[in-house]
Amino acid sequence: MGQIILNQVRKTFGDVEVIPPLDLTINDGEFCVFVGPSGCGKSTLLRLIAGLEDVTSGDISIDGQSATELPPAKRGLAMVFQSYALYPHMSVRKNIAFPLRMAGLPKDEIEKRVTNAASVLNLTDYLDRRPGQLSGGQRQRVAIGRAIVREPAAFLFDEPLSNLDAALRVGMRLEISELHKRLSTTMIYVTHDQVEAMTMADKIVVLRAGNIEQVGSPLELYKAPRNTFVAGFIGSPKMNFIQGEQASALGADTIGIRPEHIDVSDTQGQWSGRVGVSEHLGSDTFIHVHDTGLGDTITVRAAGEVDFKHGDTIHLTPRADQIHKFDAQGLRI
């Protein structure tokens, strides 16, 4: 129930190849996140799976059956859109019931499923309201409700949290993760936010310009990024990249070290520099260090509060076992 296999799927718009031939397997029950910078083709890929765009060549199969030629409604997938795409002239109840009405289910069955979905999503009190009278988070839940009543083979989410404020986003992230645990249905989730990808995914697919850069679990991507793009994209703040002497000493073209893998000291260390901006988050402090002689600004994380002021001299020591090495093509050594 819900294994999706893409085989040599390719998409062009006119002369522009948005997605070069691509293979991907999403296993049943998996929470798979497509992540990448905007314009990397992740939404297009999702729309290809949904059937809202036609593939130029290649094959998409859902549960072992080819779905390439099937219209969206016949693929057994449900989608949650970025704008929620609720029907503004219908009540919440009618919105959730819409796919069931279209499928021609009997009235009492529709009523049962809507009531059930509403209680799962805490929408029971809002069933008779219009979408315009709901808050962003509630609308989001209605959109999810409309998806779950269909009992689809897989859920597709197209940047569903990007219209919510930061606090609500964290809450909805948890709710969607919990929903996944409870339903254990395949979910494909598109986002540009690597935090969402890291926290929710079983499997992350990192995309750049339509190409899959790496597929793996969040921690695999964090610990062993296959190239500099993935290394820079996963993790916050970004990994520091150092080229030149320091890198060639380790037999690499570029070395990468995450801010959290550098120890700071005010007396001694391997590198030294001048403190620029410090970002105090309470639990952590991110310090931007200039003039280290290593090229770019180096970002380091110090646990808790540290007493460095702008312009102070700071000493840095990278943890040797956490240094990532990349060759001239940017690939991991």
Partner: protein, 288 residues
């Protein structure tokens, strides 16, 4: 417009325009009311004094009154039906991406810029003439007897002509409404398994309801007073006499200003009844 001072200034600035418009409206209204209570026959003795509600009673009891009300409602209803149905279809068609979209849109809107008298005469003489009209050739081509449009089908003819004039207006307003429909909603309904027809019925049509109400309201106000189209085609014959045309006949053909004025007051009342109904519907539709 925040301060007391600027509000006063604004009132003074607006006063000339408001006064002018008020006079523009009030003078004819008061004159109509004034004449409606008089027996006034310009070519047969002029002002023959006050007659109370005599004109009002005579206007309604005339055998031409109720048929003219019916004709008015049939024309208004027919034109509204045709323009809204075809307007929605044309709007959907024009919303599709196609080559030469700009030119096609201008062509679609063009009939609206043709003067009513001109377009009516063109229709009457070039299309609906029973001898050399294009439609009669069409009928003959299929071996049918050409229709005497103006005499045999006077009301349908006028409805066709007026619909042709007003279709661009409806199309234009409905097209802008369709363009504001969120494409994700259509995609969502597609994923939800709605067929093309059901998408139209459940998503597009409800989205258009507000625009349709606006078209309905504006067109009704203008259609209640159509005159030129009737004047140059049937001249009010063959059951095509509307209320406004009847008033024209009472004043100019019968030379009875008092009787015509009373008819004018009825027309004002009718238009207001329709307007109140429409405002109610619109108000309900525009609220949410």
């Amino acid at each position: 417009m925040a301060t007391q001072h600027s509000r006063t200034a604004a009132r003074i600035m607006m006063a000339p325009a408001v006064t002018l418009l008020l006079g523009w409206m009030l003078v004819p209204l008061i004159m109509t009311l004034y004449f409606s209570f008089k027996k006034y026959l310009p070519l047969r003795g002029g002002d023959l004094g006050w007659v109370g509600f005599d004109n009002y009673v005579r206007f309604v009891s005339s055998s031409a009154f109720w048929p003219s009300v019916t004709a008015t409602l049939i024309i208004v209803g027919g034109v509204l039906l045709i323009t809204i149905c075809f307007g929605v279809l044309l709007a959907i068609l024009l919303d599709q991406p196609m080559w030469g979209q700009g030119i096609v849109r201008i062509l679609i809107i063009a009939p609206f810029f043709v003067m009513p008298t001109v377009s009516s005469l063109v229709w009457k003489n070039m299309f609906m003439d029973p001898n050399y009209g294009l439609l009669s050739y069409l009928w003959e081509f299929f071996g049918a007897e050409p229709i005497q449009w103006m005499s045999q089908a006077a009301l349908p003819s006028i409805i066709i002509i007026v619909s042709w004039q007003w279709l661009p207006f409806a199309t234009l307003i409905l097209l802008t409404a369709i363009q504001s429909l969120d494409s994700e909603q259509l995609e969502a309904s597609e994923m939800d398994g709605a067929s093309t027809l059901r998408r139209f019925w459940h998503i597009i049509l409800p989205h258009l309801s507000r625009a349709i109400t606006v078209v309905l309201l504006i067109q009704t106000i203008f259609l209640l007073s159509i005159f030129a189209e009737i004047f140059v085609t049937t001249g009010g014959a063959f059951g095509s006499k509307t209320l406004s045309y009847l008033i024209f006949q009472r004043v100019l053909e019968s030379q009875n200003v008092g009787l015509g004025s009373a008819g004018g007051v009825y027309a004002i009342i009718l238009a207001n009844i329709v307007a109140i109904f429409l405002m109610r519907i619109v108000g309900k539709n525009l609220d949410n």
